[in-house]
């Protein structure tokens, strides 16, 4: 039975993948030196989040997926130090699902950790991420209405911090919920890791933070072109694995991400809603006696928010340019693949 379990439940697009990548890369060191365990395997944490949220698509993910929840729980039960369960999709669970999950964990103390950030940047980043996964929802319609569906991770269920805290904080005793606030102005590149590590109880030495790649954002025209591309491409993606590999990793992260250009901005009504979410988040921190790491003010939308450029402001010519740049990049890879495989008949 674990002494302490931290459930890191998101939010998505708050550096979760970065933190997870570093932690999993040093799994053995963390266990031996810091007595911090990541139970089961990395994919098990994703699948456990689906199980907790009773997602009917769990079994279709992998034949190992349905057993993931039990493997995570067993890994905790067999450990006597600190255990960390981390996936950003946990945050969308209902209050009942959160409570049931916490009840099943064999530990002296269970704590909830939320990494959080300013709501405008969070919303635009979450919209981009949803598009990387093949969604086609226009920004104007993204996260505008509350969702009752815990499988709907790309919605207000994940990005409304007050709502997330209202569902998760009651599952653990008062004072056992942490919010780690990402600063609006970025500090040192590995600052987030060090704050996370300190909160969990991981030593600073011998950790190579460079194992985690950056996850740069896309330019506005590239994002909107990606959205327009999916209706043609989605029918060709015969599995989740294919889409993950070819759209998310290869196309988006390999070619689209990091290009120069205006970044995605929100519509005025969405900015107003984000401001309100920021204010409600601060109230929720107090209401649930949350232990805050960082400046809670960084959860508010700044008064001097720069002008927002939305997909509605992008011209068709910009979209065509974004698309053709991508076509040329993929065609270059295709030509290179053919050149490396002269035996292939090709076309």
């Amino acid at each position: 039975m674990a002494e302490r379990v931290l459930i890191h439940i998101g939010q998505p697009k708050t550096g979760t993948t970065y933190l997870q990548t570093i932690a999993w890369a040093h799994r053995e060191l963390l266990e031996e030196r810091d007595r911090v365990r990541l139970p089961a395997d990395r994919a098990d944490h994703l699948w456990a989040s689906l199980a907790v949220r009773e997602d009917p698509r769990l079994a279709s993910r992998s034949e190992r997926a349905p057993g993931a929840y039990d493997r995570v729980l067993r890994g905790i039960e067999e450990w006597d130090g600190t255990a960390v369960v981390t996936h950003e999709f946990f945050g969308a669970a209902t209050a009942e699902q959160a409570a049931r999950f916490v009840d099943r964990i064999a530990a002296d103390r269970v704590e909830v950790l939320v990494t959080a950030r300013e709501p405008v940047g969070l919303t635009t980043a979450a919209w981009q991420e949803s598009l990387k996964r093949g969604r086609t929802t226009p920004l104007r319609a993204f996260a505008t209405e509350p969702s009752d569906d815990p499988t709907d991770v790309w919605s207000l269920r994940s990005i409304d911090l007050a709502d997330v805290l209202d569902r998760w904080a009651p599952a653990v005793p008062e004072g056992h919920t942490h919010v780690l606030v990402l600063p609006r102005r970025r500090g040192a590149p590995d600052e987030l890791w060090h704050r996370f590590a300190a909160l969990v109880g991981i030593g600073a030495d011998d950790i190579d933070v460079d194992v985690a790649r950056g996850n740069p954002s896309m330019a506005l025209a590239d994002v909107e072109f990606l959205r327009r591309f999916h209706p043609y491409n989605n029918p060709r993606m015969d599995s989740l694995t294919a889409r993950n590999r070819w759209v998310r990793r290869y196309l988006t992260e390999g070619h689209l991400a990091g290009r120069p250009g205006d970044r995605v901005g929100l519509h005025p009504d969405q900015v107003a809603a984000a401001r309100e979410r920021g204010r409600r988040a601060l109230a929720a921190l107090e209401r649930h006696a949350v232990r805050v790491d960082g400046d809670p003010g960084d959860l508010l939308v700044p008064d001097d928010l720069p002008p927002q450029r939305t997909p509605d402001d992008v011209t068709p010519e910009e979209l065509v340019d974004a698309g053709l740049r991508t076509v040329l990049a993929v065609a270059a890879d295709l030509a290179g693949t053919r050149a490396a495989d002269p035996g292939a008949t090709g076309r």
Partner: protein, 215 residues
């Protein structure tokens, strides 16, 4: 008989049915057969054939079809002009995309490294949507002048015309395509290229596995 086989002058790439047409015309005792098609299609076919090497916009593609030149060179010999159905050439959407590719490359020469450029552009050109009834937003003056010259030459030099003579008309310019339709066509083009890359990678992987299995 071999000695009577006419000399065939092809004036556009991607000819459809040239050997058959030449044979039919040759039976009528022509010494030279100049083969052409609808002027716009011939112009576009030439542009496409050169595009991988030149990457030039359509507006910079010379309007000279080479037909009048070929007819002049054959002066004094029995000449026939075979007008064949056009080959598939880019649609208005395909033209808009290739034109924009040319614009991007002109603005950013490093977008595709020079050694790879021809192979890369070939992959793109081969996949733009095609039609046999092309429409262009701007018909160059030179094209209309050449067609008028061909018509004059045919009449004054007693050139026999075979095939679809009405194709020799220069079409009126068509409106530029809806910019939103170009976005969709670009998305479709990317789907095609990505699909082909996936197939190429699968083939490569399969070949590597087979090579490994063979020891």
């Amino acid at each position: 008989m071999l000695g009577r086989r006419p000399r065939v002058v092809r004036t556009f790439p991607g000819e459809v049915g040239v050997p058959g047409a030449a044979l039919r015309v040759g039976r009528r005792r022509a010494e030279v057969v100049v083969v052409t098609t609808a002027p716009t299609a011939a112009w576009l076919a030439t542009w496409c054939a050169d595009f991988a090497q030149t990457g030039r916009p359509l507006g910079e593609q010379p309007a000279d079809l080479g037909v009048l030149r070929a007819l002049r060179e054959a002066q004094g010999r029995r000449t026939a002009l075979a007008v064949l159905p056009p080959p598939p050439v880019p649609t208005d959407l395909g033209i808009a995309m290739l034109d924009r590719v040319a614009g991007l490359l002109a603005a950013e020469p490093d977008l595709v490294p020079a050694p790879e450029r021809a192979a890369v552009l070939r992959e793109v050109v081969d996949r733009v949507p095609r039609t046999t009834t092309p429409a262009v937003p701007r018909v160059p003056d030179g094209l209309a002048e050449e067609v008028a010259g061909i018509e004059r030459w045919i009449t004054t030099h007693d050139v026999a015309v075979h095939g679809q003579r009405d194709l020799l008309d220069v079409p009126t310019p068509a409106p530029a395509p809806d910019p939103d339709a170009v976005v969709d066509a670009t998305a479709q083009l990317l789907t095609e290229v990505l699909d082909e890359l996936r197939r190429a990678v699968r083939r490569q992987r399969r070949a590597a596995q087979e090579a490994e299995a063979d020891g």
